[in-house]
């Protein structure tokens, strides 16, 4: 699929995350749609495209959020590079459990980064509510990632040869 279409997907993901999911919060949390799209891109496309999507998505989120400039860009880029590195090391991530693990780990790591930043700024942190929010966000992100993966594979966003995954799933 054209790089422009993938970039449009990231822009749409940013708009949906700050717009629609500001109001519709499954389990009371906002899904990290851009993180999911970046991880899926890392698993389904080339490394260059994945990093490009991560940078564009991160910059847009940084600009739209207006806080901690660069934090989202840096994290999403590292997440994309890490996912690509794990895939290229030979670990089979083209499975539901592999994707779920990566998304869960990335979600927890991102929230720990935010908690560290909040703590350093003197913010009031209650461990119980914070853990509850992180756990619910992990569940929502994993479910959304699984659904989005099916949709993307169906419409041919994968690497050549990976389209057969959809055929395996539906046969």
């Amino acid at each position: 699929m054209m790089t422009a279409a993938r970039l449009a997907l990231v822009v749409l993901a940013v708009a949906l995350q700050v717009g629609v999911f500001g109001y519709i919060r499954p389990l009371g949390v906002m899904p990290n749609l851009v993180l999911i799209v970046v991880i899926l891109a890392s698993l389904l496309t080339t490394a260059t495209r994945a990093v490009l999507l991560a940078i564009v998505g991160g910059l847009l989120l940084d600009i739209v959020s207006g806080t901690d400039p660069g934090l989202r860009t840096a994290f999403l880029t590292l997440a994309a590079l890490a996912a690509v590195a794990v895939r290229q090391a030979g670990v089979d991530l083209d499975s539901g459990s592999g994707l779920a693990s990566i998304v869960a780990l990335a979600t927890v790591t991102w929230n720990l980064v935010l908690l560290a930043e909040l703590s350093a700024a003197g913010g009031a942190i209650a461990a119980g509510p914070a853990a509850g929010i992180i756990l619910r966000e992990v569940v929502v992100n994993v479910v959304l990632a699984a659904l989005l993966r099916l949709v993307l594979l169906r419409f041919g966003f994968g690497l050549p040869g990976r389209e057969t995954t959809w055929r395996r799933l539906v046969s």
Binding site: V14, A15, L16, Q17, V18, G19, V20, F21, G22, Y23, I24, R25, G28, V29, M30, N32, V34, T46, A47, T48, V51, L52, I55, G58, L59, L60, L61, D62, I63, V64, S65, G66, T67, P69, G70, R72, T73, A74, T77, V84, Q88, N111, L114, L115, L118, A121, G122, G123, A124, I125, A126, P129, A130, G132, I133, I134, E137
Partner: protein, 267 residues
């Protein structure tokens, strides 16, 4: 056979991104940020509109019984408020008469600027919203933002046509407040908590605070107007060994369903 990753291209992209991040941090790209925020505002506004409509549709079905009860309570409160308005009119007339006699200048009322919420902070631990009013509408950093008579937050960043609002439920939010229902008017600091709660802390032990009391802004510091409702006391924590007591506050606002807010602009 897999293609080898194009490392030089990757390095160039990462270097460009790093430069952009540094530029953002030092504010060199502020005009570009304003333009992008302005371009993005209609898109996120449309997405917010779709989201709030869909969310409202789902929620109303499950809340019919609650809505009926709320309706009754609101009718009763409405009648009480009408009476108070009538009493206030009398007080206002008295006030005007006394001012004229004593030759005292009138305090100018604050100006409210209505704004639509067009986006939320894309995280679950920080609490910010974006509104569709900016510097060209007279919005300035530090102004208070209210909705349904309660404090929503303060303006933290302003561009030409949008502004970012720091919500009271953000863990870094702090505001000086007083309990207006107690004679001693105990004062303290209200701050947000992760999970959406509010706590009022640093309340002196010898100044009692009761459940149900109304907590308002004290106006200390000059930026925040005095008397804006923050919430009601839901629980009080005291300890014989502690210097201060703490109160948990509840607010009538649902911060994940904000659609319309008002910025308290200076007259």
């Amino acid at each position: 056979m897999r293609r080898r990753p194009r490392q030089p291209r990757l390095l160039v992209m990462v270097a460009i991104a790093g430069f952009i991040v540094v530029a953002l941090t030092f504010g060199w790209l502020r005009p570009v940020q304003s333009v992008i925020a302005g371009v993005f505002a209609p898109l996120t506004g449309a997405a917010s509109g779709a989201g709030s409509s869909t969310s409202g549709l789902f929620s109303v079905v499950g809340e019919i019984a609650t809505l009926q009860k709320q309706n009754q309570e609101l009718r009763s409160e409405n009648a009480d408020l009408r009476q108070r308005l009538s009493d206030d009119a009398e007080l206002r007339a008295q006030n005007e008469s006394l001012r004229k006699q004593l030759n005292v200048a009138e305090i100018q009322p604050n100006r409210l600027v209505g704004a639509q919420v067009i986006g939320y902070q894309p995280d679950n631990l920080r609490q910010f919203i974006t509104i569709n009013r900016g510097s060209k509408d007279g919005i300035q950093q530090g102004m208070a933002v209210v909705s349904e008579g309660s404090l929503v937050g303060t303006v933290s960043e302003v561009s030409g046509s949008t502004s970012k609002i720091f919500l009271v439920t953000d863990p870094n939010f702090r505001v000086a407040a007083i309990d207006q229902d107690q004679e001693a008017r105990p004062d303290g600091t209200v701050r947000g908590q992760i999970g959406g709660g509010l706590i009022m802390e640093k309340i002196a032990q010898n100044q009692p605070v009761k459940v149900g009391d109304t907590v308002v802004t004290s106006g200390l510091g000059g930026q925040m107007p005095k008397g804006i409702v923050i919430g009601r006391v839901a629980a009080v924590s005291t300890s014989d060994n502690a210097v201060f007591q703490t109160a948990q506050l509840s607010t009538s606002l649902t911060f994940s369903r904000l659609e319309l807010v008002y910025v308290v602009a200076r007259p």
